[in-house]
């Protein structure tokens, strides 16, 4: 059972520019991702949007394995700034997990 934390999205949003609200879950980003990791990027963003904090924090390695190549971003039909969002997540993790 995954617990929804409604405040989580606000925490992630506050420091950076995380915004995946326009995402309609088409999955094009994941289909074109060079890394071929299931979580990247659609499912990761969905966990963030739903506020499933644990799932995000369990997967910090994956979040850091993104190449920021922006293949997903240029193909996104909803114009979500995917790479920027990954950066905001890393910023959040740096502060909250690694206390940097």
């Amino acid at each position: 059972m995954a617990q929804v934390n409604p405040e989580f999205i606000d925490e992630v949003k506050r420091p950076g520019e995380f915004n995946a609200s326009a995402c309609m879950n088409c999955g094009v980003c994941t289909a074109v991702c060079e890394m071929g990791i299931e979580l990247l990027p659609r499912k990761l963003f969905r966990y963030v949007l739903l506020g499933i904090k644990d799932k995000v924090l369990e997967n910090t390695e994956t979040i850091y394995s993104c190449l920021l190549c922006k293949m997903c971003e240029v193909n996104c039909p909803a114009n979500v700034h995917i790479a920027e969002n990954v950066r905001s997540l890393r910023y959040y993790i740096n502060k909250k997990v690694y206390n940097l």
Partner: protein, 573 residues
């Protein structure tokens, strides 16, 4: 044998018929039938050239009967009745025989059988034509007044439209004040005008017009008469009865909101509301949403409650307005409190047309959508500390089971047919399998019912939003005005006729009539059955039950039907 002179025309339909039916063989087989003066084939009987040829034949050879063997009468009955009329022949002495749908199209594997069947059908058509009599349409003068039942947004708008066409309107509302559901709505999409504002504007328009009479706390209790000339009785405040004479009736009786059962998605528990209840809460709050003295921060919506049920249940239909209404409610709630967290648990989102923009806007503003499988609906449970726990499998993370602790759960309920049995009985309105009133044809006759002169519009016909309700109300205005502004209606004369010499009034026929078209009258000092010519539909239900054979159906008399059976049974050789 027959003193009729009949013209028979057999159509190839450009091959649609002649590819399977040997039309020349058919022509030869029917040319010698009693009464047949001319028998021809044509590539397209409906073409201008063939119509012209028929016209000339009818005039030159003094034909007094016409048979065209072609397609379904639904397609060309009126075309060929028109030919007869233009040639000076009574249109009811025309018979259409359907050898396309009933022969060539159905028996593509058996051309010989199709040909034989065509011969038999045409012989029967000729036999019937031999016994036709000239008939005239029934002309009914119309009363320039309309009864509108229901003064919601549809009924009010219909009343104003009718009044502006110069028709008098009797507007009857069951509730204490006009306006229906929309009167209770706050901001509406688009343009953000409130429902109550729209209704105030409409009621002001109604009040300006002298030819509209509005009754509140009133209901229709009796209707008699027929299209163009109905007598109705309106009961006001449960007592006083007012009689009115109208030419048409428009029913705009509205809908009920689906009321969830006890325990359905937790309904009945503190914090679980229906969409109308939630909208009222949002509309009445000044700033942040408060419920039972607590601040509302997290809201969960569950879609399709009471709608789109599995086959065999009562409500298999989509209520179509609710996705839009729920998305709109979410945006309205965000305006009151931009910090609100909202989770929409949906089966499918159907924000058709312009409402798609609302859906996009809501996502961009942070409203979150989770798709669930209809076989694994969300579970709603009471939780500690005034919260409600909702668990759902999110299909878009491969069925991750998530748990949301919400302050409010909104059940997005649809529209159900209003309990209207009294009205249904009085008007004899047909009700569809979904429980809403039924139109004749969903595309081409969307506001007409099988009861001539009675129209339906708005949500009593099926789920609609307010714009769609008003559009259908104005369609009903046009349809009723098209009858009433002409001053008269012409009805088909193919109806039941009583022979008063034979009738001894036993009442069997009246009981068998589904349209209440048969009453009593005096004939030479005794009671006999009388058919209300404007109400009778010519279904023929009364004719076989008469123990004295005193009823016949014009155009399909017993003698005609017997002669048709004899013609069917003749050898085809």
């Amino acid at each position: 044998m027959s003193n009729k002179k009949i013209g028979v025309y057999i159509c190839h339909c450009g091959g649609n018929i002649s590819d399977y039916v040997d039309v020349e063989k058919v022509r030869e087989a029917v040319a010698g039938e009693p009464g047949v003066e001319v028998a021809k084939t044509a590539m397209f009987t409906c073409s201008d050239a063939t119509q012209q040829e028929m016209l000339e034949d009818i005039r030159e050879k003094n034909l007094d009967g016409l048979v065209v063997a072609s397609c379904s009468p639904k397609l060309h009955l009126f075309t060929f009745r028109g030919v007869a009329k233009r040639a000076g022949l009574n249109p009811y002495q025309y018979t259409q025989v359907n050898v396309r749908e009933q022969c060539s199209w159905t028996h593509t594997d058996d051309p010989a059988g199709a040909t034989e069947k065509a011969i038999r059908l045409i012989r029967a058509g000729i036999a019937r034509t031999n016994l036709t009599e000239p008939l005239e349409p029934i002309v009914v003068n119309t009363v320039p007044a309309v009864l509108v039942v229901g003064a919601g947004i549809a009924g009010l708008r219909a009343a104003v439209g009718l009044a502006d066409l110069g028709l008098s309107v009797w507007l009857v509302e069951k509730a204490a004040s006009p306006g229906g559901w929309v009167a209770g709505f706050g901001k509406m999409y688009p343009y953000d005008r409130s429902g109550s504002d729209l209704i105030s504007q409409l009621t002001a328009e109604v009040k300006k017009r002298n030819n509209i009479t509005l009754f509140t706390n009133a209901e229709l209790v009796e209707k008699s008469g027929s299209i163009g000339d109905f007598n109705v009785v309106i009961r006001v405040n449960g007592g006083e009865e007012i009689k009115a004479n109208v030419g048409a009736v428009i029913v705009a009786a509205g809908f009920d909101a689906y009321q969830p059962g006890d325990g359905e998605y937790g309904y009945g528990t503190d914090g679980v509301l229906t969409l109308p209840e939630f909208k009222a809460l949002v509309d009445s709050s000044d700033g942040r949403l408060m419920y039972q003295g607590r601040e509302v921060k997290d809201v969960v919506y569950i879609y399709c409650v009471g709608s789109r049920q599995p086959e065999g249940e009562d409500r298999t239909y989509c209520s179509r307005y609710c996705c839009n209404a729920a998305v709109h409610a979410a945006l309205t709630a965000l305006e009151k409190d931009p910090g609100l967290h909202q989770f929409h648990l949906f089966r499918d989102i159907r924000t058709y047309g312009k409402f798609e923009l609302l859906y996009n806007q809501s996502r961009e503003m942070g409203v979150r959508y989770l798709k669930f499988d209809e076989n694994e609906p969300p579970v709603v449970e009471k939780d500690a500390a005034g919260k409600v726990k909702v668990t759902v499998k999110d299909l878009l993370t491969y069925s991750e089971e998530v748990e949301i602790r919400a302050d409010l759960v909104v059940l997005v309920t649809g529209m159900v047919p209003r309990e209207n049995s009294g009205l249904t009985d009085v008007l004899k309105l047909p009700v569809g399998r979904d429980g809403f009133f039924n139109e004749i044809h969903p595309k081409l006759r969307p506001v007409e019912t099988v009861v001539d002169g009675v129209f339906i519009c708005g949500t009593c016909q099926g789920p609609k939003n307010s714009a769609e309700s008003v559009a259908s109300a104005l369609a009903a205005v046009t349809q009723s005005a098209s009858i009433l502004k002409k001053g008269y209606v012409e009805l088909e004369p193919l109806i039941a006729a009583v022979n008063p010499e034979l009738c001894q009034w036993c009442g069997e026929c009246a009981q068998s009539c589904p349209y209440t078209a048969i009453g009593k009258e005096q004939y030479q000092g005794r009671e006999v059955a009388a058919v209300n010519r404007a109400v009778c539909k010519g279904c023929g239900g009364c004719a076989p039950v008469c123990p004295r054979n005193a009823i016949d159906l014009k155009g399909y008399t017993d003698a005609q039907v017997r002669s048709m059976i004899d013609a069917f049974l003749k050898e085809t050789g």
